[in-house]
Each structure stands twice: as structure tokens, then as C-alpha cells.
Symmetry: C2
Subunit: 380 residues, 2 copies
Amino acid sequence: MENFDYYNPTRLINGKGKEKEIGTILSEDGISAVLILYGKNHIQKSGLLDETIKLLEENNIRYTLFGGVSSNPVLSHAQAAVIHAKKNKVNAILAIGGGSVVDEGKAIAVATKMDCEVWDLYTKTKAVGALPLYVILTLSATASEMNSGTVLTNEQTKEKFSFSSVHAFPKVSIVAPELTYSVPSNYFIYSAVDALSHVLEVYLTAETLPNIQKRFIENIILTVMETTERISADPKDYDARAEFSLAATWALNSLSTLGVKKYSFPNHMIEHSLSALYNVPHGAGLAVVIPAWMKWGEKKYRENLERLANNIFQLSTSLEAIVALENWFKKIGAPTRLADLLIDKNDIEKIADNAYLTSRRWRMTEIYSQKVITDILQLA
Amino acid sequence: MENFDYYNPTRLINGKGKEKEIGTILSEDGISAVLILYGKNHIQKSGLLDETIKLLEENNIRYTLFGGVSSNPVLSHAQAAVIHAKKNKVNAILAIGGGSVVDEGKAIAVATKMDCEVWDLYTKTKAVGALPLYVILTLSATASEMNSGTVLTNEQTKEKFSFSSVHAFPKVSIVAPELTYSVPSNYFIYSAVDALSHVLEVYLTAETLPNIQKRFIENIILTVMETTERISADPKDYDARAEFSLAATWALNSLSTLGVKKYSFPNHMIEHSLSALYNVPHGAGLAVVIPAWMKWGEKKYRENLERLANNIFQLSTSLEAIVALENWFKKIGAPTRLADLLIDKNDIEKIADNAYLTSRRWRMTEIYSQKVITDILQLA
């Protein structure tokens, strides 16, 4: 077991109709004015925004709206939100949406409190404080609702960077599984791939994995796969939605890596470039990159791939595991080739250059050369 | 999935030599004076107390010592500690020891801050604040290092009561697995039974258990069993110690019950009376009560016992599961009969009366009558 230092103060609420408690929760915390951050007009159509506003009004909480967060949140939008938050003198951020909204919410919460440039937080300035961030989650995938990380894309430089800070933990995250019923099926599939990838990357790249973590991760993989199939069959399967949400949170809130020795996220690193360059949904990009990466690393990760074959798919060889996972992606309707994303193979070198730069900037534990990234993408 | 509301702000540090960071940690938190709470003179002999004092002195932190916490912590000792803490104007409690010391530390931290009677917290007064509590754990078992519960025995009334509060979470808990090398083997065995029982009771009594929790709990059970055997074979197996500690913490820090419907802790309820009346170690009492309770409830819990048989012991029937668990307790050297604890069977009714009273006072979700408790204890 490697040493670890775990701290996660986010209060995670999961349950039927729990989004209706937001007014009381903010009020009990002494919040008097919030910026409501959201994405597209989905929460307007569903009535969730109106309902939330009513709850705030009932609790005498002033609010200001700021919509338009994109599925790969961008710097310019976050900058504008910070200006808006300061102008309206809010003392909390309320993010309503999926991981993108939460990620951008973290940046806004920190930059507003610190009165600093947003991009500096992703490149050089240490976060030292933040407005409290509250979340109503409408799509489970990234675990951003219960971790301290945030990813943002600088549209001008085409860089997708991240930072992590104890100040970036949401104070309270409300997961109301029924809110996820209306997620379009393709976005739900991408979210499943994303949640799966968070533990799969650790499971396959870890130098040593204590038994407790081996089983912890297998549990997440199996739960995501089982519940994804149940939800695909019946989008209103409440228990499957609730269980999927818990699995997605556990997949990247640090629990799965406690005591794990040397792991990395090469697929995320490569995928971030696809998102930054082509604005493809993160989960869709991952479904394309992961099987290609596994084929490329079949020898290197053979032992761990065999464990995956045995314990998840009841198969035996590494090659069988790769085929089984790729087939499962196809089965749920995820893309598995660059062509499925309408990305031209002549672009591969450009993507590889971007990914190499990004991985250096992110100080990844393992950095792949442009050559390696090109080889992997050729397999996609 | 049942609704849940999870919040656990304890910072959990686990690693080699991490106890040496206590001075820096307290200093960074602005602590200037602590009461060091501990049990027997074990930490004096081992040098841990002297080492800790040296670290405090290096960081200009004033300290006062308060030893003598017993393995079932008692009210009079906690009361005296509160007087001592107030007299010495400490602004934090540092508990060094196992679950008993942590449990008593929670009571002291709250009662000192609130300036209230200790026993009132266990019977009628709501905790509304606490001095920060720091922990150096020398024995993993109860998960008290990362939960909000505390159990204390009133020696005069022979009552063993508990309370739980967000104010009772330790601020920081340091688990340094090497410190557990010197735990006497019988106490280590009791700790293994205790950790196991926390998840076993949920696993067997739950009305519904989502798959993610079924597997989460099976992981804890398997990890505790595997690492207990490794540690019994080699008390200095660092990885086994570290993994055991993580499993013990996960067994009762709320993770294993998120979304679980209707579960109870009948064995703990009965065992608390054994501890209160005969001062037997908690884990030893549990090893005696659990197999008897399983025999009594073989029909009632048949389906869950069969799951235990299948997934833990690779057996099929409920009776086989009961025998397998009892044999495992015997194998590791735990007592399995009241006679092993030198408790006379003529005392059974007295124990049943005490347990019935306690379960009513604890407002257990399921209360057994004296008759049922007597029946169970007859089987022990």
C-alpha cells in the first residue's frame, strides 16, 4: 500500500425529490445571494430552473442567472461569469447541470473569491479560497460533484487544462436521480463511458493494486455496466439511475486510488485533445481512444488486461478483454473509431502534437511521445 | 436505492511514519495547547508518547497528559478528562490509541467546548460544537477515526450508550500501520471480528442491498479475512496492516450503508451488554454472539446467509455459511461460546434484560424482546 492523504468534505445528498431542498440548504448555510450557473436551455424546458428560483424566493435568497455553459466549458464564458458574479455581489455559486457546469462553477467560485484571472488558476496561481459552491446534478459522469478537480478549455490557445484544490470541493451536491431521466440517450452513453474510464485507467495502468482496490474498482466497473444496460432498456429505472450515480461518484472522488501505486490517465490525456480540437463529447472521445490504447498496450499491460478478462468478462486472455470491452461499447451505442467522430486520419499528427503538449503541461506521471500517440490513434 | 445524505469531513492519513507529522499538522491548524488522551502505558513503553511530546515541543505546542482510558471507556474517566481539559485551557484533543480512546476523545472534545455534562450528550443534549479532535490510531477496528459516533459506559448504571454528531468527526486521523505491529495478538483478533461485524450485520439484516453495496461489503469482508490471516502469520506484514486498516475504516464510516434499506445491528446491541456487565473486549463478545444469532435467525435471514455462503465461502447453504464463519473465528483464535468468556449460563436472563433496555434506549430500528435475546444467548 502506498501512503495516502484523503480529505473530501463535500456533503453528497442522493434521493427522490432532493432538489427541492436547495432553498432550505442555502438558507441554513446563511447564503443570501447566488449566481445560478447552467448550460443549455434544458433546465428551463424541464421546469427545474423555475422550480429552483421559486425555492430561492421562498427563502429570501437573491439570485442572478448565468446560462450557456458548453459541454466542454470554455474560458471566455467563465471569465464573463466571474464579472457577473462580482457585479451582483453573490456569496455563493449554484451550479445546475452535469460535470461541465460543475467544473466551470469551481473556477468561478475560486476566481470570484480571490479576485484573480480564471486562466491563472489553471496555469500558475494556487487557489487559496472560494465562494461556497452548491450543485444540483442533472447528469452523473465526471464525479466533479464530489472531487476537487476542474477542467477548462482555453478556446484561443486550444488548450484544455485542469487544476485541483481543497477550495474547489463543492460544499453540497444534490443528486436527484429522477432529474437524469431526460438526459438524451447518446449523452447518457458518453457519461457511462466516462465513469467507466476513470476506474479502468487506474485498474490497467497501476503498478500495484491492493486487493481491496482491485475489488473496489471491479465493483464500479460491474455496477456501471449493469446499470447502463438497465437504463438503456428503461430510462426511468430509478434504482439503476441512483446506483449508476453513486458508482460514477465513487469512480473519481479519490476512494479508488487510496494506496494505489503509480497509475496514470493516458486515455484522458489523449482524449482531451480531441475535445479541445473538435469539441467532441468527452465520453465519445474516450470510447474511441480506449480500445485503441489497449491494443497498443496489450503487451505492456497484459497482466492487468488478463485480470480484466477474468474478473469482469469471465474470459481469459488480454485480447479477449479488449474485444469484449470494444463490443460492449458498440452494444451500448458508443463510437469506437475516429471515423465515427468524423475526424480525418490525416489530422492524427496534429492531435498527437496537441496531446503531447497538454500532457507535458499537466505534468502527467507518464508522458507519451508524439510517435506513441500517433501509433495509438492509427489503431482508432 | 434508499435516499442518503453523506458527509464525512475527516482527513484520513495513512502511511509509513505519518505519526511524525502530528506537530506540523497541529501547528498549521493554529493549535497551541492539547490534551493528550491515551489508554494504558503501552504508548509510553513503545516510545510513541515521548516522540509525540517532542514533536509538540518543537512546534511550541503546550500539552497536558491524561492517560488511563479503558478498553470499554467509562463515564467517570471522561468527566475527569473534561475537568482537566478546561483547567489547562487546551484548544484541541489529541487521542492516541484505538477506538476506545477515540470514542472518549469525542465526548471530551464536545463536552469541553459546550461546557456540559458528558452523560447528557449520550442521553438528552444535542451536540452543537466541539474542540477539534486529532487522532493517532494504534489499533484499527471501530472506524471511530472516521465516523461521528461514540460509545461510553456509565459504570454506575451499567449502561453503554452512544451518540452521533457532525461535531464528533475527528478533524485529522493518522493511521500509521507500523504502530499496530505491537498490538497483542488476541486484541488484534478482536479488532478483526469487530471490523467484520460492522459490515456483516448490514449484509445480513438489510431488507434490500443494491448490487454496488453487496459487492462493496463483500470486498470488506474478504479483505478483513485475507489480511487477518496474513497478519496472524506475520505481524509485521506492512501491506496487510495498511489494507486491514483501510477496510476497517470503510466498514463503518457510512460508505457501506449508502442507499441500503432497513438494516440493524442486533449483535452489537446484545454484545454491548456483555461489555457493560463483564467488561469483555467488544470483539470477543461479538465472536460469541454472531454465530448464535445466525443460528437463531437462520430462517429469517436465509437468503442473505446463502449469499454469504456463495460469495464469501464458495459454499451454498445458509447452515454452511454459519459453520464456515464460526470455524473461521475458531481458526483465528476468537472465542465462540459464552463459556470461553467465563460467563455463566445462569446469567443469561440478566444479560437479556440489560440488552433489551439498551436497545430501547438506543432506539434501535429492530428491538428484540428479552425472550429472543435469551434464545440467542442459549445458543452461545
